[in-house]
């Protein structure tokens, strides 16, 4: 066994020589982000690369890309909710109840604060903020094509549906973005803490919709009524969410072990027990699945022109 340990140590040594330790990488990365003008060289902002979620294109993103994405989604949400509340000239407030408005205001304020926080980080890092995009939440691209949600500015149900989809998309996409900033403790925690706020918002919007009669739980469930035609950007926000298979590798990059939800784990505790299919639906509810950035940017693109 000593000989085998020696081999393992040799492997460790080998990699140590080739690559500085994580702490060094983090310091170097922080130093770079602090230098003015690094935004001109996006390569310098390279964070930790993640494994591609699927075979095919490798999604590689810098810390700047991640911050810009968070800002883009928060700014989009701010505009959507501001228009719904009648805070934007030219847009009449939706007929929401006073209680509904109160909750939407909380969400909107937190979007505004997130835009401010992330904008500060981007400019502190030496990058410039992109110009504000133009929004059309009917999805008609300012009349260039048929509207996807023609009554979004008059019908609260339509507005709440779109708001929920955007939040659920953000929750899924933030999960993958964390992997690109793992070397940076501050940004990791910022993303984690923003990610759970997005989930709180999504849950609240889902609760509002359920109170208005929609078939939807406060957590993403296979029992939710479908939100769009299969294959559209909106439906893709929920693609793969019904997955009930979870896996992990005990060692970094080791073999995957599947969690035996469908066989040996005693998770079916209801009286009487649920059907095997029904308990796996609960498993699907219990885990929100990650998604690549494109899932959110595709939805954002529907409303931007």
């Amino acid at each position: 066994m000593d000989f085998l340990n020696l081999l393992a140590r040799l492997a460790d040594l080998d990699s140590t020589a080739a690559a500085p330790q994580p702490a060094g990488a983090r310091r170097a990365a922080l130093g770079r982000l602090g230098q003015a003008g690094t935004a001109l060289l996006p390569g310098l902002l390279l964070g930790a690369l993640s494994q591609p979620a699927t075979a095919g294109t490798l999604d590689t993103r810098t810390r700047l890309d991640v911050l810009l994405l968070v800002r883009q989604l928060a700014a989009l949400g701010n505009e959507l909710h501001s228009r719904a509340l009648g805070l934007v000239p030219g847009y009449t407030a939706l007929p929401l109840t006073a209680a509904e408005k109160t909750g939407i205001q909380v969400i909107r304020e937190q979007e505004v604060q997130r835009v401010a926080l992330v904008s500060q980080l981007i400019t502190d890092g030496g990058a410039t903020l992109p110009a504000a995009p133009r929004y059309d939440f009917t999805g008609s691209q300012n009349g260039a094509r048929a509207a996807l949600y023609p009554d979004i500015q008059t019908n609260p149900d339509t507005y709440l549906l779109v708001a929920q989809v955007l939040k659920d998309a953000a929750v899924r996409v933030y999960k993958t973005q964390v992997e690109f900033v793992r070397a940076d403790i501050y940004l990791s925690e910022l993303l984690l803490r923003s990610h759970t706020v997005e989930a709180r918002h999504a849950s609240h919007l889902r609760t509002l919709r359920r109170q208005r009669g929609a078939t939807v739980k406060s957590w993403i469930s296979p029992d939710d009524a479908p939100v769009g035609t299969t294959g559209t950007a909106v439906a893709r926000v929920y693609a793969g969410e019904s997955n009930s298979v979870q896996a992990y590798s005990a060692a970094d990059n080791g073999a995957l072990t599947s969690v035996p939800f469908n066989s040996t784990l005693p998770i079916n505790v209801a009286t009487p027990p649920l059907s095997p299919e029904a308990i796996l639906r609960k498993v699907a509810e219990a885990f929100d699945e990650p998604a690549n950035a494109v899932v959110a940017t595709d939805v954002a693109a529907l409303f931007t022109y």
Partner: protein
């Protein structure tokens, strides 16, 4: 650019390749693979963590982190089960349905962590499971139940937000994140039931200063302190603070 790219990607690939090459050159023995993968653990063969004389000490590594989330899941599963079995008199059908869902989710998390931890679970050698104490809460009224659930779910969200960056194993982090947002959904739901529109209230999501728009975050020691009234053991999470 080159240096960062090297550390974050090429370096990792080299490490993996080197390991495989060294492993493959020797023998196709599963014992070898285990020896190589467990190199660090063998330096410290103490089981992780232990409950001895009423003290539960979390080890300063991924298994210590997962033991803390395992304990949280055990507490929440027991909490929801208790209320599914004996709901307060003013619980509606919708309340009961939601609690059955949250009970099922918590049981799924508990069994998930137990399965991943296997013999590293703190209670794998205990003959009797810990019995949690919910007397700090008022569980006889709907409002009391939802307030208690809010405390537990917010604590879970804060705990996960503090633990994420301390995890080393990426596949564990992915799973933690998959669960964290569902806990935040639970938290928002139960808070809204306890107090309308409190889903992201200022006691959990800061509204001023440099933390504005960010959700609650708790250090492992804060989590242990908040859990201690519920757990019949002294919780020691100091090792997790070093991660």
């Amino acid at each position: 650019m080159a240096d960062l790219a090297d550390t974050s990607f090429s370096g990792r690939a080299l490490r993996r390749r080197t390991f495989l090459r060294v492993a493959g050159a020797t023998a196709a023995s599963s014992a070898l693979v285990l020896a190589g993968c467990n190199d660090k653990k063998e330096d410290n063969p103490t089981p992780t963590p232990e409950v001895t004389t009423g003290t539960l000490t979390f080890k300063g590594d991924d298994t210590g982190i997962f033991n803390l989330t395992y304990l949280l899941a055990q507490i929440q599963a027991d909490f929801y089960q208790k209320l599914v079995t004996t709901p307060p008199a003013d619980f509606t059908a919708a309340d009961k349905e939601a609690f059955v869902d949250m009970r099922d989710h918590a049981v799924i998390y508990r069994e998930f962590y137990k399965s991943v931890l296997s013999t590293n679970a703190y209670d794998s050698n205990l003959t009797k499971a810990l019995e949690f104490n919910f007397t700090p809460y008022t569980l006889t009224t709907r409002k009391g139940v939802y307030e208690a659930a809010s405390k537990l779910e917010d604590l879970g969200v804060g705990a996960y937000n503090g633990l994420g960056r301390r995890l080393r194993n990426l596949s564990y982090l992915r799973l933690l994140l998959k669960i964290a947002s569902v806990k935040a959904r639970h938290a928002a739901f139960v808070r809204d039931q306890a107090e309308p529109n409190s889903f992201a209230g200022p006691d959990v999501v800061a509204i001023t200063g440099s933390q504005a728009s960010l959700d609650t975050v708790k250090t492992p020691v804060e989590v242990a302190t908040l859990l201690s009234p519920l757990v019949p053991a002294v919780l020691v999470a100091d090792n997790l603070m070093l991660l």
